[in-house]
Symmetry: C2
Subunit: 314 residues, 2 copies
């Protein structure tokens, strides 16, 4: 099962972190941009080529350190279909290096439309009997506002193609409480808990051998109290934890997301890793080295807090 593969990657590398690949041109060293613009022009194609080359350098430098990468779809979409091609090529390259790929797309819809998103990102697309992988990630982030009609089509594809999803529960941003913290009258619990409970239920259809199902939840590092409460309430729901680093979360804030085995969560850092070369002020040609140094530092900081990671008994 897909989530099992992520857990095994985390265990093997003793690193519960994921590197976000959210490339903007301003994060990319000049020598890469110059080369790509010279080859393709100063246009969306040139920009997309620069994203891909930047990502490949990061993936090469990170692939023996981190278990997973998380490209954020928005950063590719803004460069048009050329950017979406760079997304597909980034995913393929990361997978070829043994990385688990979570596409952060926060997709949501119902019925046949959700089936189309599932085919796009996790399954395959049929063209008159021939089968193609459009984007081919290992997992996709999704938004559960529409209820089960938006999730069931994904569960079928996850089951058939060995994939996983992460449903937004408590997001890391300051205004997440406007809706997510509201108490529900009938349940006397907040919206994010109700969404977490739905994840736990949906997950029953995708059981995993280490106790964590194929339906994970997104719970932000910026709300450690809620993270702790959710970890306790949802024993079979694996957490994707954004908000570490640039958004203010630290090792102490993410620790409550883990179980007693040091398992149960994976912590994302995007700008912290991608822009490490700018923060370090190192030679821009060493941007991937700087990313690796930051990924190692982050791993060591979180692992010092956790002690070690073992897989829950099967």
């Amino acid at each position: 099962m897909s989530m099992d593969r992520l857990l095994e990657n985390i265990m093997r590398k003793q690193n519960p972190t994921v590197a976000g690949l959210d490339p903007k041109l301003s994060f990319i060293p000049g020598h890469i941009k110059e080369k790509c613009f010279e080859e393709h022009g100063k246009n969306l194609e040139g920009a997309a080529a620069a994203l891909l080359e930047f990502n490949k350098g990061l993936i090469d430098a990170l692939c023996d350190v981190v278990p997973a990468v998380k490209p954020q779809a928005a950063y590719y979409e803004q460069y048009g279909w050329q950017g979406m091609r760079a997304l597909a090529e980034t995913i393929a390259y990361a997978k070829s290096k043994g990385l688990f790929v979570i596409v952060d797309g926060k997709r949501n819809d119902i019925g046949a439309t959700m089936e189309a998103y599932a085919a796009a990102h996790l399954g395959t697309t049929d063209v008159e009997g021939e089968t193609f992988e459009a984007f081919g990630a290992d997992a996709l982030t999704v938004n559960g506002y529409l209820g089960s009609d938006g999730i069931e089509p994904l569960l079928k594809v996850c089951s058939a193609h060995d994939k996983a999803i992460f449903v937004l529960a408590k997001t890391s941003n300051p205004s997440s409480g406007e809706l997510q913290d509201q108490m529900l009258h009938a349940m006397y619990e907040p919206v994010y808990r109700a969404m977490g409970n739905m994840c736990q239920q949906w997950g029953l259809k995708l059981p995993g051998k280490y106790g964590y199902s194929g339906v994970g939840a997104v719970v932000g590092a910026t709300y450690p109290k809620q993270l702790k409460e959710m970890r306790k309430a949802l024993p079979n729901t694996f957490f994707l934890v954004p908000g570490y680093g640039a958004q203010g979360g630290a090792a102490d804030d993410v620790a409550p997301g883990f179980d007693k085995h040091g398992c149960g969560a994976i912590v994302n850092s995007s700008r912290g890793i991608m822009c490490a070369w700018q923060k370090e002020g190192c030679d821009p040609k060493d941007y991937a080295g700087a990313a690796r140094r930051e990924a190692v530092r982050m791993r060591d900081e979180i692992m010092a807090r956790l002690g070690g990671i073992s897989l829950p008994a099967t």
Copy 2:
């Protein structure tokens, strides 16, 4: 303002309906597919070419009947970046024919990431000082689960580029109530109403000259009672109403979404129009004619119920 342009299109054509462009290969007549597969191969590129040709035929046949089209991003994404190119080309073609284009992407994220989605679909993308339109729709559907942090970046882009958004409030699917109908303890109103109230508030930043702001809401035809209640409660929020036709909504069900001027809502039909040729059993070469006949029938059915459409006084 963008929503004003939509209202004026609706008024001019005396038609408050939007044609969904959600193409699947099984909806496309054989002669189009054969030609495209011959030219490009039986692959994602061939499929994407068939989507585009199918859409162009529909747009040509519909552009003097309907005020707007609504391509659903999922159906293009499932054909990879080649499908996303077909989406961009579909949008450009529809705009060249005077149609208002609503991309149904239900995108959602926060801060810089939401800015990237806004740039992708509504704004422009900067490449070293050169400006490009990645997809260039007139409006985008979005999911407000993350709160204001997910909407504010869109409002800025809408204001700068004369665009609009539609936020999911009460969706048309059977399980929409799992979260959206839950009563909120503090407000003693359901989630969908709270989301509607947020739309009304966010809309204050994008006022329109006919009273409807640039922040619309999605409210399904399958819940006419809620549609009526929302129309009354949200006088400045224009509604995008899915669920007519294939999902079961009829003219009587959508009528409560309109104000006393016959304004205030636009009703979507996707499969009903796209697949009219299959339902009619006509010559597949006349698929666009069948789509037009169904669009006219739908317009006449809804207009008979409304009487006429006038724009609220400015």
